[in-house]
Amino acid sequence: MTTNTDLTTEVPAPRDSPAAPRRPAKEQRFADGGGVLNVFSHGFLALWAVMIIAPLVWIVLGSFKTDAQIGGSAWSWPAHWGFSAFSYAWHQGIANYFANTLIVLVGSVTLTMLLGAMAAYVLARYEFPGNRVIYFFFVAGAMFPVYLALVPLFFMVKNLGQISPLLGLNSYLGLILVYVAYSLPFTVFFLYSFFRSLPTAVHEAAMIDGCSHTRAFFQVMVPMAKSGLISVGIFNVLGQWNQYLLPVTLMQQQHGGDPDRSVLTQGLLNLAQQTGYASNFPALFAGMTIAMLPVLVVYLSFQRQVQAGLTSATLK
């Protein structure tokens, strides 16, 4: 432990006269015996950061390489910087998958938030017979893995399709409703405790002024619950954007002539298969880059909210 200057963050050590011993006594105690530990832990933190970043950068670089380069050595550097792999992947369906994902997501997140907030609000702030039972049912749903319900669910959606093809398999609305239903447990659970924690006074004042229950909800409670809604909204956007099992099961083309409504995560695996056969790995890497980019941008711009949203959600 020769110096501590590079590791002390806030207050620089007072400059000693050259004759004085280099080591100030008191302040260093906390880190005593930490010399080795410090190098070790900093090394470990940096190593983990590299382990996270390296594969991602490697993928992005891979989308500029040729197939031979990718197969040849992991360390090869792209020979020329062209976007042909990107345009290939984009036209190979990524553009289409992107649009499908957006359509589904806009509908499902909006509906999840609206219906989730409505249910949570009523359950949290109104007394009525059956209140606890309904709440319990909602919370219980968060415990099971989705694949346990998958086949009955498949037949349920298929049957709904017989009522109206707009609701059935490989339909936007069908998938939207399923997303909403499976996002409700968590959304209700989270917003329930949130609505409970809001002060009653404002709400009562609004009611005395002759506000209807519905208006009080939309004009008083929803604005007050904004921070909670944002947290759970981010959670739902990420969760549904990344959903894999449900679209794979419910959004397969049923007949040859059906439109391909694969969402992005599903399309990526399709692309992985195609490019595997065609030996076109740059296209696959480009597809992954395209799929990661929006998430990265959203995450970096809202990382505080994303982290806070996801963790506070789990701890509640």
């Binding site: 906390f30 900093h42 409505m118 249910a119 893995p145 239903a181 789990t314």
Partner: protein, 310 residues
Amino acid sequence: MRHRKYPFIVGFLIIPVVLYVVLVIWPYLQTFGYSLTDWSGASQTMHFIGLRNYTQLFGDSVFRTALLHNMLLLLVLPVVTILLALFFAFMLNVGGRGGTGGVQGVRGAGFYKVVFFFPQVLSVAILSVLFQAVYRTDQGGLLNGVLVKLGVESADHPWQWLADPNFTLWCVMGVLVWSGVGFYLVLFSAAMQSIPRDIYEAALLDGAKRTQTFFTITLPLLWETVQTAWVYLAIAAMDAFALVSTMTPGAYYGGGPNYHSEVMSTYLMRNFITFGKAGYACAMGVVIFFITLILSVVSLRVTRRERIEY
């Protein structure tokens, strides 16, 4: 307040509840029912056969292998993830030099937190394709590429990560840890930040070392969060479906080579959809459900401690 209360309540609840019951609760309940039948999944004909699926299940060697793998995941995944996450969280929040500046994280803590958390927002499809590329069996794979470069293995015989029976399950575990640590790190950080700084400062004045403060202050005060993390990881260890089914070799839903990465969920799906043994698969689902339930209850009981108020 009571003015037109009930119409309002019904109006607000009816759509979410109906949607939820029809698409979530009812399918789950059906799974329980189907587990007592010989339903194939393709047609609607089925016969009630009582508990025969369950007795058959425990004689099924593939299911036992899968169960064993889930138990291995259950032992390794939470321990490794929680230890790493705790260590990182401690470093990033209170591990910095005490000095006169008080208790703080190491330099660059914010940056590390942003980077470590990122895999959490990547979808399993991306994780799966990404790590298939990382585990490639030739030098073009990132892992083999690095190992060849380091001289650990020869370029002529790179390791067959996902195709090697000894490695395949560990490869999946690696991905689970890689992507999960960041989330638990942030979870623990949030809990650590609610621990008052003066406790640390008092310990510091008393001459406590960094490791001491971790074991005497941080860990006890964090116990409840660790417990929550344990339950979440246990549930994840019982699942592991998406990664195993897309990453590991095997005709339907992965699980290969030769069942060496089989987990209960992949075997369940293969029976459900490929083999047309829906009733049998539902029985597996019920078993998984009860194991998960028992695990959460047990882990919450065993790790329960006095709640510390501060």
